[in-house]
């Protein structure tokens, strides 16, 4: 993992989302420990690791297909949490201000751009 490029990937996301990006963290699945981030929140990282695990288990338990690219949770107070599932078992969680970004921009531009930038860092 090229940490410099990983930080560049975060810059790409910051550029795309502007001030709508409140915080983000990249971590390796199974560790719950951030390796790069912006306004990092170690507690949130550990908890979203667990949320992903819960989600995978529940989906499989219910007979649904497994988790693929991302999941997005729209919360009270216009907070949007997006957790991307990345290559090599990495995850990228981000807290976004839903008022300041359009959903189309988030799902169709920011996330694909961030994913590409992350893959360059691998």
């Amino acid at each position: 993992m090229n940490v410099k490029k990983l930080n560049e990937a975060i810059e790409v996301l910051k550029d795309d989302l502007g001030n709508a990006l409140v915080a983000c963290d990249i971590w390796l699945t199974g560790t719950g420990q951030s390796i790069a981030g912006y306004n990092s929140n170690a507690q949130a990282t550990a908890l979203f690791e667990r949320v992903t695990e819960f989600m995978n288990k529940a989906l499989k338990g219910a007979g649904f297909p497994g988790l693929k690219d991302y999941y997005m949770l729209d919360l009270e107070g216009d907070n949007v949490v997006v957790v991307m599932q990345l290559k090599d078992n990495y995850q990228w969680g981000m807290l976004v201000d839903g008022k300041k970004v359009q959903l189309g921009l988030l799902l169709n531009i920011a996330l694909p751009d961030a994913r590409r930038a992350f893959e360059e860092a691998l």
Binding site: F48, V51, A62, G63, P65, L67, D69, D74, E76
Partner: protein, 291 residues
């Protein structure tokens, strides 16, 4: 050129450098004897052992106990693997003083953080603990209600366990049935499943489409999600969009007492259609459907 900044070294100052004055030179014979640096012998002679204080005694006891491989009895140590509900007469504490109160063991969903390496491993790390709790006898514990708020009031603590479980409010499924054709028409994708599930009881109140899924398993997910969110200060999930394998997506709408699941094929326009066409329609219908 830089030499102009350097302090000119005189003959006098050079002499001073060569023979630095000692304390005795300055103060004469009255100068106090140097105490520092102390020699190794000084340390050996001086009594280093000070009388043990209460704190140090306790610390030493703890060290001895840990070293002797005899773990102190954990306050909430698991008594057995039996997760069944056992009732016994109430102890005198708080709620238990009320007539008819009973104590009950409640299985708490805490997974072990790591398994002990061997059976002789002294300290079990976060086992599936059974907490002894105090209950009012009118509250029944339902063993099938995994992932929902437990039916117990944990003695001496305020926790989510204190919430009394209730079945989710019944709904008129006919209200949703009527709009299903409209919903299917309003999206450019196959909707494989639409289901309304009780958040508290996991019961399916309305279902249309593929019925091969175990929808009750999702109840655990929703309550777990909420608990986790609250821990990091985020509240009330309004909806979730999940990208799944096999080119499928799922949208989950969260209501006060129920949640609604939509499973559909993925395409570029479907997230928008589901979130901005289907969701507002369902939000509009839900209050009407409640009995």
């Amino acid at each position: 050129m830089w030499n102009i900044f350097r302090k000119k070294e005189t003959k006098k100052s050079r002499n001073n450098k060569a023979t630095p004055k000692t304390l005795e030179d300055i103060l004469g014979k009255d100068a106090p004897k140097r105490k520092y640096p102390r020699r190794l012998e000084d340390f050996k002679k001086s009594p280093t052992k000070q009388p043990a204080t209460e704190t140090s005694k306790k610390f030493n006891e703890t060290v001895k106990r840990v070293a002797s491989d005899e773990p102190k009895k954990l306050r909430f140590a698991p008594k057995s693997n039996d997760s069944s509900v056992k009732k016994s007469p109430a102890k005198s504490s708080g709620i238990a003083d009320k007539p008819g109160a009973t104590t009950q063991k409640v299985q708490v969903n805490t997974k072990p953080l790591s398994k002990p390496e061997s059976k002789t491993d002294p300290v079990p790390v976060k086992p599936e603990a059974e907490y002894t709790t105090t209950l009012i006898s009118t509250v029944e514990a339902k063993p099938g209600n995994t992932g929902t708020p437990a039916t117990a009031t944990q003695a001496g603590t305020s926790s989510k366990l204190a919430e009394k479980p209730k079945p989710s409010r019944p709904v008129k499924s006919s209200v949703f049935k009527e709009v299903m054709p409209e919903i299917h028409e309003s999206v450019d994708s196959n909707i494989h499943l639409i289901a309304l599930i009780g958040r508290f009881d996991g019961k399916t109140y309305f279902e249309e489409g593929d019925s091969s899924y175990d929808l009750q398993a999702l109840t655990t997910l929703t309550s777990a999600l909420e608990n986790e969110m609250e821990t990091v200060g985020l509240k009330n999930i309004r909806h979730g969009l999940i990208h799944l394998d096999d080119n499928k997506m799922m949208m989950v709408l969260f209501f006060d007492e129920h949640f609604m699941v939509f499973l559909f094929d993925e395409n570029p326009v479907i997230p928008g259609q589901m979130l901005f066409i289907v969701r507002p329609r369902i939000l509009e219908l839900y209050p009407q459907a409640l009995i």
